[in-house]
């Protein structure tokens, strides 16, 4: 049992990080039917903001500042790159998202010079602790707990609050939602704000584990989180969470068996299989095209 847990734990931890990023993909998809390709890069920007922020201020300030900047970035990307295309064909918005992704990556190359940077040590969560006789960073334990707490908060927000009800209504039918007096643009902005917030939290956890930040480092976790969202059923919040954990755990098991080289291949093979066998994913339902 202890043996199993100590093998599973890193997987659960990485899975929680994927889940936090995957929520951003799935929520934006739910409301706009858009794969926000820039989401992984927003996650990376959060890593760099933290790196630069700690050079100027204590960590306790750097964390909220990073969250604020990331949220503002997500909000701005939506307003500048997606909102003007609201009535354009879906393909145009998707191409815009790819454009934003490359723009952010290249801006990061330009500003940072492309050198991988050492991610700052966040005290306490980066401390080494011993769990079941294995040395690990405390972040490994924190991640799944924090992930679950944030998901519960998110579900409560969506199920119980006025804005949550507006989000659920808008994700089904923009026009009728507008007839209720719901401001669609505010609801969409809110979705990006929440997604970016979760990506920022994910970045603290991920980079504390991974240690270096470079302009393209977010691409892989971003893609895997995207696979997690598709696997769970894109548009579904529980789907993104379960998908994230399953992929994180499976990757670690594969590594543990000595096939590290194949762990990425496994994830993408899983995507192909899911798209063949059950394109709507584990919890996905068939969403009608929105007008």
């Amino acid at each position: 049992m202890v043996q199993i847990l100590s093998t599973l734990l890193p997987g659960i931890s990485v899975g929680g990080q994927y889940a936090l990023i995957a929520l951003g993909y799935t929520m934006v998809y739910g409301i706009l039917r858009l794969i926000n390709f820039a989401h992984g890069d927003i996650f990376t920007v959060a890593g760099f903001v933290m790196f630069y922020a700690v050079t100027a201020m204590p960590v306790q300030l750097a964390i909220p500042l990073t969250i604020a900047v990331t949220v503002l970035l997500g909000f701005t990307v939506e307003r500048l790159a997606y909102k003007p295309l609201r009535s354009a064909p879906r393909m145009s918005v998707m191409i815009s998202a790819i454009g934003v992704s490359y723009l952010l990556q290249n801006l990061m190359w330009y500003i940072t010079g492309g050198q991988p940077q050492q991610y700052p040590v966040i005290p306490w969560i980066s401390d080494s602790i011993s769990v079941f006789g294995t040395e690990t960073k405390r972040v490994t334990i924190i991640t799944p707990i924090l992930t679950i707490v944030l998901i519960l908060a998110l579900v409560t927000l969506i199920k119980k609050t006025r804005i949550g009800m507006a989000m659920r209504a808008a994700s089904r039918d923009f026009e009728t939602a507008r007839l209720m007096g719901i401001k669609i643009n505010s609801v969409i902005s809110m979705t990006f704000v929440i997604g970016s917030f979760l990506a920022a939290v994910g970045s603290f956890l991920f980079f504390s584990n991974y240690s270096t930040v470079s302009p393209t480092v977010g691409t892989m976790p971003g893609l895997k989180a995207f696979v997690a969202a598709v696997f769970g059923g894109i548009g579904s919040i529980p789907g993104a969470v379960v998908g994230g954990f399953i992929i994180g755990i499976c990757e670690n098991i594969i590594r543990g068996l000595g096939y590290s080289t194949f762990s990425d291949a496994f994830t993408f093979a899983l995507l192909i299989v899911v798209l063949f066998v059950k394109p709507t994913g584990l919890f996905g339902e068939k969403l009608e095209e929105k007008v």
Partner: protein, 237 residues
């Protein structure tokens, strides 16, 4: 009172409304009949602000509505139950009704109106926890009307409330329209079922390819030979 003057609306280059003028006096039931594509829905959608007009005016108690955002129009006392019901299928009946009161903040007032809607539609109360998508067509129509009433409108716009419903259910819906009107809500009703609509209406307009071609009381149009032939399916004997 709602006063529409010389309203022009176009989709792309296609003229949907070619300068219509009509009035909806307070406390009345007014109906707009016409064939598919005549511009009936466009008229309602322009009043609510879902569709932008090219020119003309839509005045509500002297206030110009054209160009106002939808939430302002709803707050001014106009609500619509849209064509095809458009309930939110994965939200519960209660949540759908609450969304109708989305712009209102006074919880006590909202609770009072919820009771009012439940009195009008006892079926909705029985099913308030059910997902709206599981309701029958008639119940969904009741929900769409109830949801619109939750904003406490002075004017209720109804787009084809009888569409796709069994004759008995249509009877129910029309008797409730009368009841809502008796309780002080002005109604602008669009119908393919011209016979039912004209019977209940105080005032009626006939819309043909974007123009109003006839108007009068419901009884007058019901007796009109041209209306009989074109919309009531009765041939001259």
């Amino acid at each position: 009172m709602l006063k529409i003057e010389n309203l022009h609306v176009a989709y792309g280059g296609i003229q949907a409304l070619r300068g219509i003028s009509m009035e909806v006096p307070d406390g009345k039931i007014v109906t707009l009949i016409g064939a598919n594509g005549a511009g009936k829905s466009t008229t309602l959608r322009t009043i609510t602000g879902l569709v932008k007009a090219v020119s003309g005016s839509v005045q509500w108690n002297g206030e110009e509505l054209l160009g106002k955002p939808i939430d302002r129009i709803i707050s001014a006392g106009i609500a619509m139950s849209p064509e095809g019901r458009r309930v939110f299928p994965d939200l519960t009946v209660l949540e759908n009704l609450k969304l109708g009161a989305y712009l209102r903040r006074n919880k006590a007032e909202i609770a009072k109106d919820l009771q009012w809607v439940y009195e009008l539609f006892p079926r909705l109360k029985e099913r308030d926890w059910q997902a709206a998508g599981t309701l029958s067509g008639g119940e969904q129509q009741m929900l769409a009307v109830g949801r619109a009433l939750m904003s406490r409108p002075k004017l209720l716009l109804m787009d084809e409330p009888s569409l796709g419903l069994a004759p008995l259910v249509v009877q129910d819906i029309f008797s409730i329209i009368g009841e809502i009107n008796r309780q002080g809500v002005t109604i602008l009703l669009i119908e393919q079922n011209a016979n039912m609509a004209l019977k209940i209406a105080d005032l009626a307009y006939v819309l043909e390819t974007g123009n109003i071609t006839m108007s009068g009381t419901g009884a007058e149009l019901l007796a009109d030979e041209r209306v009989k032939e074109a919309y009531l399916g009765k041939h001259k004997s």
